[in-house]
């Protein structure tokens, strides 16, 4: 359970954006890993985060709650959060549970990064 932090791409580094990969099953264990990676990025000053769900087949209740916690932490630190590559099934669940109202949604990581970059160019309060 000590996967290294997902390395940001060059573009990400320039605008302080990080990508975290969610893995195939978001449950307590992997959820806590995602949460740790996101919080570490935020603590290091990252103000835009993408969680990439490209491999995710299932998110259980604990996974949902942990993601809601990440959303809370992002709001509190003024970090913009995007979910990318969410499968149809998971997207439906996120919709029903209200998560989609709280994050930027993008079909691909690139699209998510582009949206967040746009945002980062005009940070709040400027």
């Amino acid at each position: 359970m000590s996967e290294p932090l997902a390395e940001p791409t060059t573009a990400q580094a320039v605008v302080d954006v990080a990508v975290v990969y969610a893995g195939d099953y978001v449950n307590k264990m992997s959820g806590q890993r995602i949460e740790r990676e996101c919080l570490t990025r935020m603590e290091r000053g990252c103000r835009a985060l993408v969680i990439n769900f490209q491999d995710t087949e299932l998110v259980n209740s604990i996974g949902v709650s942990i993601l809601l916690g990440v959303i809370d932490a992002a709001e509190q630190s003024g970090t913009r959060l995007a979910f990318s590559n969410v499968s149809v099934h998971t997207l439906k669940l996120f919709e029903l549970l209200g998560l989609t109202r709280l994050v930027v949604l993008a079909d691909s990581e690139e699209a998510a990064l582009a949206t967040l970059e746009e945002f980062s160019a005009t940070p709040p309060g400027h």
Binding site: N27, V64, S65, L68, L93, L97, G98
Partner: protein, 426 residues
């Protein structure tokens, strides 16, 4: 798949997750945190908390909380009013558990709702197990912004039942642990006072016999060392030490003049003195000892493997092992301490006596154990050197060790039998 089917499946999976978390997480707070995650994740809720209720103090203690930051206290004292309400009998004597569930828990629910409404709590679910309030779940609004439906509340209650059982079981476990700890302390105290009583008895016995000061205590110590050398367990070793302390307790009923006679006693006096093992048994038998064989150790400590002992003339295998050990410890102390009519024997003489009397007066296995323990102490292989402290540092001289080793070897091989038989009865 319809939305409602999707939600039902998600909720079913959540129930399974919850069961797993409650059953498999041994850390209580971790278990409650996970349970809270399940509840929040099932309905898409950002804020929530689980608190356990202490019936004795009326305090709700928050065990897990998410999304509230520091906006709620760690504990909340539930006012008497709602506690009595929840108690159902309203007499406030605390005699009945929190019975009469529904309308009374509504009071608790209402009370908490009032207090936490400003913090964003929308639903309060009392956790009730067997009619007893064990805690509450506090839930903030749904992330979807949709108001709670009746189904949501039912779902929260259904999940809450599992969480409640988790809290309840944990409470029972803590109670059992607390009682076990208390019992252990009580047992230790009782054992302590039992030992003090035993020591007092031993001192009383030795007081009566002015020439054998400390004899009982030494016999206890030697018995303990021999038993340990024979591989006995801690409990049995503790028991034999007590058996050693008390072996002569029957002397309390023997005439002091006979015990203290500064010369060899006559036959009548001897038979009076020989009553002491049976008398000791009668004294010890009615006492509830933590160890079973103690009265028998007193009764049979003058029996001999060759059947020439008293009071019953038992043969080797009929004598309880504890009594055999105490018997040797008793004789060993008698040989190694000065008496009014003779000085103590040298260690050479003691070894010779062991050789001559093994299989007759003493059990060979017990003699081997004592000899091994002596050998180890003499060679400094065991610390502390308990026997050397009792015998005096120079009592076992270096030059006697080969004879001691030879005796052990002979007893173990059975070679002593031929020598002993050849020399005839002593």
């Amino acid at each position: 798949m319809s939305d409602s089917t999707r939600m039902v499946l998600h909720a079913f999976a959540a129930l399974a997750d919850l069961g797993e978390e409650i059953a498999e997480t041994s850390d209580f707070e971790e278990m409650v945190r996970s349970a809270l995650h399940v509840v929040l994740g099932t309905m898409g809720i950002r804020r929530g908390a689980v608190a356990e209720f202490d019936r004795g103090t009326g305090v709700l203690r928050f065990v897990a909380s998410r999304g509230f930051g520091d906006t709620h206290p760690a504990e909340v004292n539930l006012p008497r009013k709602s506690r009595e309400g929840a108690n159902g009998n309203g007499n406030g004597d605390g005699s009945a558990p929190y019975a009469h569930a529904l309308q009374d828990y509504a009071l608790v629910e209402h009370e908490i709702h009032e207090r936490f409404h400003e913090a964003g709590v929308e639903v309060v679910t009392p956790l009730v197990v067997r009619g007893e309030l064990v805690g509450v779940i506090l839930l903030g609004g749904k992330a979807s912004g949709v108001a709670f439906t009746q189904e949501d509340r039912e779902l929260a209650r259904a999940l809450g039942r599992h969480v409640g059982v988790g809290l309840h079981n944990h409470r029972l476990l803590r109670e059992v642990e607390r009682r076990a700890e208390e019992n252990q302390k009580l047992y230790e105290t009782m054992k302590g006072s039992y030992k003090d009583t035993v020591r007092a008895f031993a001192a009383a016995i030795d007081c009566k016999d002015k020439y054998t000061q400390g004899h009982s205590e030494r016999v206890g110590k030697y018995s303990e060392i021999i038993a340990r050398e024979m591989g006995w367990g801690d409990e049995e070793v503790e028991a034999i030490a007590i058996g050693g302390y008390l072996h002569d307790v029957g002397k309390l009923v023997v005439d002091r003049d006979i015990i203290n006679a500064p010369y060899r006693i006559d036959a009548k006096q001897s038979s009076e003195l020989n009553r002491h093992p049976a008398a000791g048994y009668e004294i010890l038998r009615p006492i509830q000892h933590p160890f079973a064989d103690i009265p028998l150790m007193a009764r049979y400590h003058h029996e001999r493997p060759d059947g020439r002992g008293y009071p019953e003339g038992l043969k080797d295998e009929e004598i309880p092992p504890g009594a055999k050990i105490v018997s040797l410890a008793d004789s060993f102390d008698a040989m190694t301490t000065d008496r009014p009519y003779r000085r103590r024997r040298t260690f050479d003489e003691v070894v010779a006596d062991f050789r001559r009397n093994s299989g007759k007066q003493f059990s060979p296995q017990v003699v081997v154990a004592l000899c091994r323990a002596l050998l180890k102490e003499a060679r400094g292989e065991t610390r502390p050197r308990q026997m050397m402290r009792l015998l005096g540092r120079d009592y076992v001289p270096e030059h006697t060790l080969p004879a001691l080793e030879q005796l052990i070897a002979d007893l173990e091989s059975g070679a002593h039998l031929t020598t002993a038989q050849a020399s005839g009865p002593a």
